[in-house]
Structures are given as C-alpha cells and as structure tokens.
C-alpha cells in the first residue's frame, strides 16, 4: 500500500489534513504529517520531512508527498536528497492541491491503487467542481 506524507507550513495544518484524510480511510493508509519548522513556528523543515518519509518508507514500498505552497516543495526535495540513495525513487512529489489531493489519494491508496493512479486521481481532484 502507498503511504502519504503531508507537508505544510503549519504543523496544525499538516496534522489537520492528515486527520481529514485518515477519517476517510479509517486508519488503513499510513499517513504522516510533517508541518511547520516545529510545532509553533510557521515554515517547512526538510529534516522533519525526512523523518516522516523514513517512517512512511518503513511501512510502505512507495510514498506520495502532498504539499501546500512556497518552500514546501523545496524542503520536500531537500528531504528526499537526505534519504539513502536507493530509497529516493520510492518517493513521489504530488502536483495535487493539498486538501483535496490528500483526501482523494488516501481513498485511492486504501483500495490498493499504485502510485501513478493515485497521483493521477489526486491531480484530477483539483478539477472536481466544488460549487455546483
């Protein structure tokens, strides 16, 4: 099963998105939050993200990383580079929006979809009509 890592500038935001995605899948999908510089300071922390990636890689063969904005992508890339080389190809950064992407990715992961399909569905989530 694919695991998810949630990267956001706020620890509360990352934890909240994790909670929301986990609720959809009743804990069947391993989801790890890596938000904030620490629990109080807004920002992203590549070392914190690396720890979450390690935990995710210990539970799953592949990991999809959902991110908010700005430095989240740079820090996530840096975190991947801090992993042992042989593990790096098991991690993918998602183009999807954070909240919708995480929820859809969790649902897809729960039914055993692979990384490519999960990413495609998560990206598609951005185009789902919200206000109809």
């Amino acid at each position: 099963m694919v695991a998810l890592v949630i990267v956001a500038h706020s620890a509360k935001l990352a934890e909240g998105v994790r909670e929301l995605a986990a609720q959809m899948t009743q804990g069947r999908v391993p989801i790890f939050a890596a938000g904030g510089v620490d629990d109080d300071i807004l920002g992203t922390n590549a070392e914190r993200i690396r720890e979450a990636l390690e935990a995710a890689l210990a539970s799953s063969q592949e990991v999809l990383v959902l991110m908010d904005l700005g430095s989240a992508v740079l820090s996530a890339r840096m975190a991947i580079d801090l992993l042992p080389e042989e593990q790096r190809s098991r991690v993918r950064l998602s183009q999807a929006p954070l909240v919708e992407g995480a929820v859809v990715a969790a649902v897809e992961a729960a039914i055993g979809k692979g990384l490519d399909e999960i990413e495609a569905s998560a990206v598609e989530a951005a185009r789902m009509p919200k206000v109809t």
Binding site: G43, L74, M78
Partner: protein
Amino acid sequence: MPLTQEAVRAWLQRCAAVLEENRDYLTQLDAAIGDADHGVNMDRGFKAAMTKLASLDTQDIGTVFKTVGMALVSTVGGAGGPLYGTFFLQLGVKTTNKQELTPQDWAEALEAAVNGVIARGQARPGDKTMVDALLPALEAYKAALQEGVPFSEALARSAAAAEEGMKATIPMVAKKGRASYLGERSAGHQDPGATSSYLILRAAAESWAGAT
C-alpha cells in the same frame, strides 16, 4: 596565509551577527514582495547553527560547514532553509578533510555551493533571487584569481559583485517563490534573498580581509 578553521568559524559568527543586525531590514524587504519572514528566519537559523558549532569539536572545515547546513535546513523554515542549507552543505562537501583553505579551495567550494543553490531552486539569472547576487560574486572571484590578485582582494571584488547583483534585482519581476505571485508588482523592490546572500559574502570579505 590560507584560511584556518578558526577563520572559517569567525566568518560564520560574523554572518550570524550581521543577519541579526539586519533582521528587520530583511523582513521589511520580504514584507514588500513575500511573506515577511526572511529576516526572522535567517536570524533564527544562524543562531541555531552557532549553538551547534559551539559544541562541535573538529578540525575538519567540511564538518563545520555541513553542521551549519544541516542546522539551517531544519530551522530557517522558508525557501532559505533548503537553499542556504544546500549552499553550506556543498561548501562542506568540497572542503571535507581540509584543515585550511587556499584561494583555489574557496573557488571550488563557492562554485559547488552556488551550483547547488541553482540546482535546488531551479532559478536562472534575472529571476530576482539569491542567484542574482551569488552568480556574479562567483564569477568575479574566479576572474580575480585568474588575474592573480591577492585572496583578500578577490574576496572584496566578489562581495562588490554580489552587491551590484543585489541592486540589479530591484527592477526585476520575480519568477520564483512567493514574490512570483505578485507578478509585475514585484518590480521596484530589492530581493531579500539576494540581499542576505550579499550580506553573507560581504561578511566573508570582511572576516578574511587579512587572507593572502
């Protein structure tokens, strides 16, 4: 005399002091075109790095730089974290097992560091980023060495080129980072990342003014 490990530590301490002094200035620059945290972020990161260095017992300059890089990665918070983290980690890679640095060592280390920042951030010259200060500084330094000027003079020219590059970011339209959300409205403001890069390179020229 080549740079000793003490000289390297003196530079890093000067960086921490200069970034503390300029914390509000950098944050003001960032408030105009970004998320108003660059000064606070850099100050916090370098303070954390200094704490790590204080308890680091090593003769290896590479280890000193890598320690700073890792501290910045986990404490700066904004794009400066991975970018300056990469800058110092790359300096560390190129100076591994060195107890002193020659002018040529610094050329190689700075080149790796600047290339690391470019690879990490995917910014090109003219995008209104750190690269606009760092790349001219690297080129000026290498050109000065080619001319055979003393180490200290090459460092001074490098800092002067960084300053020019920093000022040249004022009319630029940002292509990277939060500032790029502003589009044309980012023109007319000096880039905070280019400014911190200049401050760091100026600190090197000042700390190492006696290097030959």
